[in-house]
Amino acid sequence: MYQVLPTKCYCNRRDRTVITGDIIVQKTFGFAGKILRVNLTTGGIWMEPTEQYAGRFLGGRGIGDWLLYNEVKPWVTPFDPQNRLIFDTGPLVGTLAPCSTRHSIEAKSPMTGGVGSANAGGHFSPELKFAGYDHIVIQGRSRKPVTLWINDGRVELVDASHIWGKTTWDTDDQIKGDMGDDAIQVVCIGPAGENWVRSAAIIANRARAAARCSLAAVMGSKNLKAVAVKGTGSLRIAEPKPFMAAVDHAWEKIGKSPVAEALIGFGTYFMTPTANSLGFLPVRNFQDAYMDPRKVEKLAPEVFRDEYETGRIACFSCPLACSHFYEVRHGPFAGLKCEGFEGNDAWNWMARFDIDYPPAVIKLHGLCNELGLDEDNASSVIGWAFEAYQRGILSTKDTDGLKLEWGDYEVVAELLRKLAYREGFGDLLAEGVKRASEIVGKGSERFAIHVKGQDSVEPMRALKAYTLGCCVSPRGGTHTRGAPMVEMMPDITDEFAQKTWGAPAPTGPFSYENKVEPVVYVERLHAIFDSMNICNIASVWGSLDLLNPDDIANLYSAATGEHMAGNEMMMIGERIHNIEKAFNTLHAGFSRKDDYPPQRFMEEPIASGPAKGERLAKDKWDKMLDRYYELHGWDRETGWQTRKCLEELELGDIADDLERVGRLPR
């Protein structure tokens, strides 16, 4: 047990000073007001006000990225105690703003050595704000496993030796039992995070995974099993009536949107048949991108709804409730009950392993949540192993006697378990697809699908804007930075595109025309949404005009009393994106050469279906990259930032840092 340390008062304007918990902060609006800091090595716990960062970086991921950039130096490795693990809420989290529910997490990424960032929904983030904190910044390494227990103003580190080794589901139960309160919110790691597996995820509410970048392995390296929160406090709004007007406008927009119906019906899984028709599936580890529609039919969204769904389940303040709860009543997985999944599960299990048995998809999804695995990364490295086995590069001698044959979901389940515990063959898989393929060699690197060392499940080849967004993402080959869904939204007009990102609408899914501008636009938009921690379903993944920058600006302005227009927010979005870019340049040395797609996608065309023959042409890719750097104001030759662009974003300090290491082109 450690004592809460008194913290000095940062505020000297008496009229606006209130005492909250153990720190004196200014009366803040929208924000909870405090950043909680924990040093696990010394047991020190202290706080600082959020206000000093708020206007410049918005909140959420924006502030998290800035703290990470400033506090983790390039010589610190991801599993070094000096790496930070930063949990963020956002200025709208905990309010009635729709979908204001998510928490984002940052650390130096064990996958890439660059910026690591992940994000999940559920009910943890609002609870943390009601307890009085906008962020938690964790540093150091505890000598024994601990849980960070936040009970409003009382914060302590409690022994977690008795839950070390438990699954995330058992951990959630145990902590709630120990604290004698079912309504507290818990984020935790499972065996995967404890074993520093590079496919681990931090799980909230038993099913909401902050996945990719393996931040759970960083949490495991700090011996931090869980963060548990109980918050009973209040959040204040600066302008109550304008805020409710903005809230009502946002609820109405979301409720009336045509995409809402599909999301309410099936969640993001609704896109599965469309994805197949666009050559957008990683079939047998990307040996194709199109599946026999009869197989897809067996796992159609309607099948899950009609045969397995028992209800819907919502994140905090969400009118969509896009998640569904499933129960399997028959067959080998009878008795399984768990919260359902996203469109990714069609990629991860149906397409990647050619599985056509619906309960197996539910089982593999549930197993990942239970073991604390990121299913995208896990399916990526196991998919690579299956292909290596198919090609004779791996044999049963390497795989602990397992036959890795496509469609065999029991073998996939067994490998997930081995992966989470680093048992036998799982120890190799736990290094992620890049490292594992380099250890095995024999040409298996060619079908190890990753960008910058971050495993990819994203089907890049057919849709060019989407592919560009994945490849230039600062967190590595993932779709939650700049990958727009414009190629799946055929109703985008020239007028809308011109008004929104200043170029005509993209011409067809497979072309390279007018594809770069929406990527840059969506990068900024993601930065805003992640900084508010409003769900991307309410914009990028739903419809681009669902909640636009002006809507978010109205909500933010009324909540905080700091008035800001949509275009000013987009400028801050660009600033946040540039912080991540600079972190990568300094820490991992990434440059233009790291913004190319995996080799397979440039050499091997899609084998069948409507996108048959599509692959990425180097000359056209180079043109897209040139335009992409130009739009950001970065150097074309190296892909690095310039002093001019950084100074325009008021990031002159970052330009100095880059100049010092010779990575600031003139």
Partner: protein, 94 residues
Amino acid sequence: MVTLKVSNEKCTGCRACEVACSYHHQEGIFNPKAASLQVYRSEKEGKFSIILYSDMPEEKRRGRFPCDLCEDEPQPVCIKYCQPNAIAIEGIGQ
């Protein structure tokens, strides 16, 4: 008498009712723990139940505001923001 009626099987556990209710009682402040109702979430079973504190004596409400059926609003705000229609008004009156 007019009261609120809940259909737990329709509830998705988003807690917008709690959030809206707390704001109705104290304009400009969100604090679900002060709301006149509470959503109990069973994430293991995927089931939710809405607890109404309106009929309970004060000691059981533990500082929560008593429900006034949002007399100054066109309809109770918990109903307004309940997307799956799990809360309704029951009874005759007004």
